[in-house]
Structure formats: structure tokens, C-alpha cells
């Protein structure tokens, strides 16, 4: 099995996610982009797992999903709190943590 196609898809997904994180201002969209990046990594892990016929990659992918789920809980809570105090979802409005 050639992993090239899967890896290309994974790389494309990762770049899409990264662009979303870097370019978008809406916190929810940035959040979704982060999820896309995580899943791109998952795809690569599963692909290599299949290529090498060992299960380690798939196990790692499961861990990523669990951690991502937990992260979503915390992240959404933060976003909601920021929205309540600022009435805005734009990341550029939340820049009080600076020198």
C-alpha cells in the first residue's frame, strides 16, 4: 500500500488548519482549525500505523482524540467567558495579556 495519497491529504489538511489558525480572527473558527490540524496529524499516524503493521499509531490517534475532546471542553469554556466579558469573539480584541 502506498501511503503517499494519505500523507498528501494529511499535509493539505494540516496546512488548511494552520492557515485558519493564523489568518482567521473568530475564536470559534480558529478553534475548529486547530481541530483540523489535530485530525491531520491523526490521519498521518493511522497511515504509518497501517504501513508498518503495528498498532502504535492508532493508539496514539485515540489518545489525540481523547485529549482533543478534553481540550474542547476547556477551550469552549474560555471562549464563552471571553465572549461574556467582551461581547466579541474576535481574537484581536482579547489582547490584554501583554507587556
Amino acid at each position: 500500500m502506498s501511503p503517499n495519497a494519505y500523507l498528501i491529504v494529511s499535509a493539505v489538511l494540516f496546512c488548511v488548519g494552520l492557515s485558519g489558525v493564523l489568518l482567521r480572527r473568530n475564536a470559534l473558527v480558529v478553534f475548529m482549525s486547530v481541530e483540523v490540524m489535530l485530525n491531520a496529524a491523526n490521519l498521518a499516524l493511522v497511515t504509518f500505523s497501517k504501513v508498518h503493521s503495528v498498532l502504535d499509531g492508532q493508539v496514539a490517534a485515540f489518545f489525540t482524540m481523547v485529549v482533543a475532546a478534553a481540550e474542547v471542553v476547556v477551550g469552549l469554556a474560555i471562549i464563552i467567558t471571553i465572549f461574556r466579558s467582551k461581547a466579541s469573539l474576535s481574537l484581536d480584541d482579547a489582547r490584554r495579556l501583554r507587556h
Binding site: V21, L22, L23, D92, R95, R96, R98, H99
Partner: protein
């Protein structure tokens, strides 16, 4: 018989295996005394005596067991350091040499402790003093029981600390605090030597054990044996107050007199000689350095005698004498294995008679309240028993036939003569000088009439009754009639024991010691019959008599005015040693410190930084942090970008590395 031997042998091994207890016990006592505080004031001193008496009993037992089965025994408690292939064990070696030191240290230590009970009876800090003395005993026993240079260094530092604490025992007196600091600093210089030796042994010999070092150094070849020899000599010079580093010993007399007897006469100052004795095989590999050892011994022999002849304070005269006698020991230790045996001989007898002399000096101070020679005198009628004790020590140190100093010194002279006639002449001269300064001291103390009636000055460096200087000087020193206090029994008893030992010690050790130490130095030193006098002995006796005569003639000519005039510059203090130290080392150090301070204040950190803008450290840090702070702008997307750039850079580097 065979069964009996076996039992004895196993008895010895069992008891020798417990040798760590003699270190642990005084250490524990010291910890109790120093932490219990005033709670233990009423019984602390007796606990302190017990902390030394029990090790003394143990040493005697061990010695008796050893007499029938003289086998060295090493007990390894655990591995202290394991660095690469070098292992330093906490191993204690009980052999013919260390058992003698064990007996000397605990024996004199116990007598001194009993004496201190009486001597410091009215001092509030008596318990503290006993804590320090026990600390000293523990460290000294560790020093003599260690079977390698590493563990010896631990004891070496321990005795240095105890010495510092005890010299500065009356720390409220500025002179005592300064003396303690001086002793501490000069001993640190010496420690540098020992550390250097240990470092060289670590890297070049790969072992620190006394038994393995000589062979390893021989294998290492090159100049290493010589370097180790010089470094060890530096260490010994500091601890034993030998020529370049001698001046601390005179000032160390600021401590309580029993402490001077124990630490600065009988035991600690001989630790340097002990180091030389353990390193005799190393010096065999480096004959040139051995000659330096001998030279330093001879130099100190004369310098100490010179100090003893010019000092005007009872204790400082004795300190000069100690220096001079330890010079004898160095000279002997430098002569090789045979000389080393005689060094042990003289070390033991000196430990006894010098402790006797010091404790007598303490008894005099206790009785009259000061120890300035110009105020003393005429004590023969007032303190006849003290006179008797002093005379025993006096006769022993000047080498009157059949007394302890005669045998030990006689052997050293013979060994020196055998090495080179010039050295023999020097050693003989030392006998004359010893006789001269000791006779001078004896006459100044006991002959004639008390001089305190006609002195009127208030300058006082007396030993113990002036802890409260200003208040006390008036009534002790200006009063025409000094009240003579009785010597308590606790002070008299050690004096009696030490006096008797000073008389018979040499006779008892002569001959036996040579065969006893033969296995340690792998040499059978010549032993002479106690009645056998050759021409060298007669010469020594003659020189001694000349020395006595010179002192008597000097005393007859001395006028009261002599006591009033200041000590000539050439004689004070300790022949320019302090001035050399002051100009050569202290002043440059102070200048270096002020230079560094200037640099620090002008260049790095000044209080007036913002005003004159010279604060380099502040400016530098501020500039850099201003640059870095610009990155921290609060924009999440900037942070994300920086993270991504970081990842890309790392990935690029990794790819580049793989591709290369």
C-alpha cells in the same frame, strides 16, 4: 596456646572493628553539649570528660590486645566516594602507629579535660568549651584512624574547626577573635596543599589509601611523587606551625590554657608530622623534597627557639618552644623511615612534657591571675608544688639523662648525624637552645622575688581573669599584693600524672618503640641500651649544660629595666612573620578586593545608576529586555505565527541534518 592466640586475635578484630565508636562517642557528646544549652551546665563538663575517658579505656584495651597480636586491622564502614575507578572508603586503620596516637590523644585529652573542669570552674562557658574539646577529640581520632588521605582530610578540617572555635573561646575579646581568624585563614592555605595532593593522587595514582599510594605513584612516574610531596609539606607546615606558616601558633595562645596544652602543644600541631609519617614512602620516591622537609624542620627548630628566647609572655614562650620541638619532629620525619620512628618517639614524649608545662603555666595563671613574665617571678616559695611539676617538664624537655626528652632527642640527633654531620650539628645546637630558653623561663618564673609589686602598668594580655578587661585590670594588676589562689584537685591530679610520665616516659619507650614500629615503617631503627652513652650523648649533655649556663649568666645580669623596655623589633612578633604576611598577602588581597569592588560598583551595579548612567549591568539587562518585550504584544495570532515559524525552523534543521 594456639587456641589462645586465636581467641586473642579474634578479640582484637572484634574490638578493632568497633573503632568507629571512639569517633562517634565524642562527636555525640559534642552534639549533646552544644545543643542542650544551659540545661547541661551543671553536668556537661563531666559528660565531656566521659566522652574522652571512654575512648581512652577503649584505646588501652585495644593496645593490650594488640600487644599479643600486633596485626594492623582495617574496618571499612562504607564507600564514601566512588568516582570512576577511584574509591574512597570510610575505612579506619588500627595499626601500630595509629594506636600510639590514639593513646596519646585520648590520654592527654582526658587529663586536660579533667584539668579544664577546675580551670574553667568559674567560667560561664565551661560546657561550651567541653563541647568543642569533644569535637576536637572526635576529629583528631578520625584523622589518626583514617586509612586514606580523603578521610584524613575530613579529620584535618575537623581539628581545624575545633582549633578555631577554641582559640576564639573568649570571643568577646578582640585579640582572641583575631587570633582565631588568623589561625583559621593560615590553616586554609595549608588545606590547599592537602587538597592539591589529594587531587594529584586522584588523577595520577588512582588511589588515596596510605598503603597503596607509594606503589601507584612509582608506577605513575614523572614528577608526581615530588608534587604530592611538596603539597603535603605545605599542608604539614600550616597545621604544625612550620616556617612559612608559623605565626598563627603564637596568637593561638589567646585560647584557654588547657586547650593550648591539648591542641596547640600535644596533639593537633603534631597532625602535620603525622601526615609526614604516613607519607614517608612518598618522600622516599622524591629525595629532593625530603631535603626540603628537613630544611624546614631545621629552620623552624631555630626560629621557634629564637621566639622562645625573646617572648615575654609565659604561654608564648612555650608556644615558641612547641614550634621548635615540632621542628625537631619535621627534621626527623624528613630523614626517612629510621628518622620517622624517632619522630614518633619524640612526638609522644613531647606531647607529655609539653602538656605538663602548659598545664603548669595554666596553674600559675590560675594562682596569680596573669602570665606576663615581667610581672611574675619568685614563685618558688609561693607555689612549690607547681614548681615541682614545672621542673619535671623542664628537666624532660632540656634532655637531662634518663628523662623522656633525653632519649627521644638523642635518637633524633644520632639519626641526623648519620644523615649528614651538618644536620647533626644543627640538632645539637637545638639542644643547647632548648636548654637556654627553658632555663631562662624557669628562672624568670621561679627565681628571685615576685615582680608584680613594682609593675604598675595596666596593659594586660593575661590569660583568664580579664574577660572583662576594663574592670578587672585595675584590681589584679595594680594591686601590690596578688592573692594566690589554691590549685584545685582536679587541676593537680593531671599535673601529677603528666609529671611522672615526663620523668619515666622515655625510659619506658626506649627500645620497645623501635621494635613496635618496625612493621609500620618496614625498618628496624637502632635501639640502644638505656645506659649506653656514646660520644654523641656526652656531647648533647655538654651542649645542654652550656645552654643552661648561658641562661643563668643572662639571668644574673638582667636588670629590672629590661622588663620595662619593649621587645626589640627583630624579636617581635615571631621574627617579622606577621609583617611579611601583612605586607605580602593581606595588603595585596585587600587591594584586589577594593579593585573588584570598584569594578563592581562602577561597571555592574551602583546605587546611583540612573543618575550617572554607569550601571553596566542595569543598562545591558534593560536594553535586552526592552527588545524581547516587543514580542510580547498580546496578539494570539502573533504567538501562533511565532510557534509555527519555530516548528518550521526546527523541521528544516532536522531535514538538513538527515540530508547531510
Amino acid at each position: 596456646m594456639g587456641m589462645n592466640m586465636l581467641l586473642l586475635e579474634s578479640g582484637f578484630t572484634r574490638w578493632a572493628g568497633a573503632s568507629w565508636l571512639v569517633i562517634a562517642l565524642p562527636l555525640l557528646v559534642a552534639a549533646v553539649l552544644l545543643s542542650a544549652g544551659a540545661l547541661s551546665d551543671s553536668w556537661g563538663h563531666w559528660l565531656g570528660v566521659a566522652g574522652i575517658a571512654v575512648p581512652f579505656c577503649y584505646s588501652i584495651l585495644l593496645f593490650c590486645l594488640m600487644l599479643s597480636a600486633p596485626e594492623p586491622f582495617t574496618s571499612t564502614l562504607y564507600t564514601w566516594l566512588s568516582l570512576g575507578t577511584v574509591k574512597v572508603g570510610v575505612s579506619l586503620l588500627v595499626d601500630q602507629l595509629s594506636i600510639l596516637f590514639l593513646l596519646l590523644v585520648t590520654g592527654v585529652g582526658m587529663l586536660v579535660a579533667v584539668y579544664t573542669v577546675g580551670y574553667l570552674a568559674h567560667d560561664a562557658g565551661r560546657r561550651r568549651c567541653f563541647g568543642y574539646i569533644n569535637l576536637f577529640i572526635a576529629a583528631m581520632l578520625l584523622l589518626v584512624l583514617a586509612d586514606n588521605y580523603g578521610l584524613l582530610f575530613l579529620g584535618w578540617e575537623g581539628v581545624g574547626l575545633a582549633s578555631y572555635l577554641l582559640i576564639g573561646f573568649w570571643q568577646e575579646r578582640n585579640a582572641a577573635a583575631l587570633a582565631a581568624k588568623k589561625a583559621f585563614l593560615m590553616n586554609r592555605v595549608a588545606d590547599l596543599g592537602l587538597l592539591t595532593a589529594i587531587a594529584v593522587l586522584f588523577t595520577q595514582a588512582g588511589t588515596l589509601r596510605f598503603s597503596a599510594v607509594p606503589a601507584a605513584l612509582q608506577e605513575a612516574g614523572g614528577p608526581w611523587a615530588g608534587i604530592v610531596g611538596v603539597a603535603l609539606l605545605l599542608a604539614a607546615c600550616g597545621k604544625s606551625a612550620q616556617v612559612p606558616l608559623q605565626s598563627w601558633l603564637l596568637d593561638a595562645m589567646e585560647g584557654p590554657t588547657p586547650v593550648s596544652a591539648l591542641i596547640h602543644a600535644a596533639t593537633m600541631v603534631t597532625a602535620g608530622v603525622y601526615l609526614m609519617l604516613r607519607s614517608v614512602p612518598v618522600y622516599e620516591l622524591a629525595p629532593t623534597v625530603r631535603v626540603v622537609v628537613v630544611l624546614i624542620g631545621v629552620l623552624t627548630l631555630f626560629l621557634g627557639a629564637w621566639i622562645a628566647m625573646t617572648e615575654r609572655n609565659l604561654k608564648r614562650v612555650l608556644a615558641g618552644s612547641t614550634m621548635s620541638q615540632v621542628g625537631y619532629l619535621m627534621l626527623a620525619a624528613g630523614l626517612g623511615p629510621v628518622g620517622a620512628v624517632f619522630a614518633v618517639f619524640h612526638l609522644l614524649t613531647h606531647g607529655v612534657f609539653k602538656a605538663d608545662l602548659f598545664l603548669t603555666a595554666g596553674a600559675i595563671t590560675e594562682a596569680v591571675g596573669f602570665n606576663e613574665l615581667r610581672k611574675l617571678g619568685g614563685l618558688l616559695k609561693l607555689l612549690p608544688w607547681t614548681f615541682a611539676a614545672f621542673t619535671c617538664g623542664y628537666l624532660a624537655i632540656i634532655g637531662v639523662p634518663f628523662l623522656s626528652g633525653f632519649y627521644s632527642k638523642e635518637h633524633i640527633i644520632a639519626a641526623a648525624w648519620a644523615d649528614s654531620p651538618l644536620l647533626g650539628v644543627c640538632a645539637l645546637l637545638g639542644v643547647g637552645l632548648t636548654a637556654c630558653y627553658m632555663t631562662r623561663l624557669l628562672l624568670l618564673l621561679f627565681a628571685g622575688k615576685p615582680r608584680w609589686q613594682d609593675t604598675y602598668d595596666t596593659d594586660s594580655t593575661s590569660d583568664k581573669h580579664d574577660t572583662d578587661d576594663t574592670a578587672d585590670t585595675e584590681d589584679t594588676n595594680t594591686a601590690a599584693d596578688v592573692e594566690i589562689r589554691r590549685t584545685p584537685a582536679s587541676m593537680a591530679f593531671p599535673l601529677v600524672v603528666l609529671s611522672l610520665l615526663a620523668l619515666v616516659g622515655g625510659l619506658a619507650l626506649n627500645g620497645w618503640l623501635q621494635s613496635w614500629l618496625a612493621p609500620v615503617f618496614s625498618v628496624t631503627a637502632p635501639a640502644t641500651n638505656w645506659l649506653h652513652f656514646d660520644w654523641l650523648s656526652y656531647t648533647a649533655i655538654g651542649v645542654m649544660l652550656v645552654g643552661v649556663l648561658v641562661a643563668v649568666v643572662w639571668y644574673r645580669k638582667v636588670t629590672p629595666a629590661w622588663f620595662e623596655e619593649p621587645v626589640p623589633a627583630i624579636a617581635s612578633p615571631g621574627l617579622y612573620a606577621d609583617i611579611i604576611m601583612e605586607r605580602g598577602i593581606v595588603a595585596p588581597s585587600v587591594r584586589l578586593t577594593s579593585g573588584v569592588t570598584w569594578l563592581e560598583q562602577r561597571g555592574l551595579d551602583s546605587d546611583a545608576a540612573d543618575a550617572d548612567g554607569t550601571d553596566g549591568l542595569w543598562l545591558g539587562l534593560n536594553g535586552v529586555s526592552a527588545l524581547v518585550l516587543r514580542l510580547q504584544n498580546g496578539s494570539v495570532r502573533t504567538y501562533a505565527l511565532l510557534c509555527s515559524i519555530g516548528v518550521v525552523v526546527v523541521l528544516a534543521l532536522m531535514l538538513f541534518w538527515v540530508w547531510m
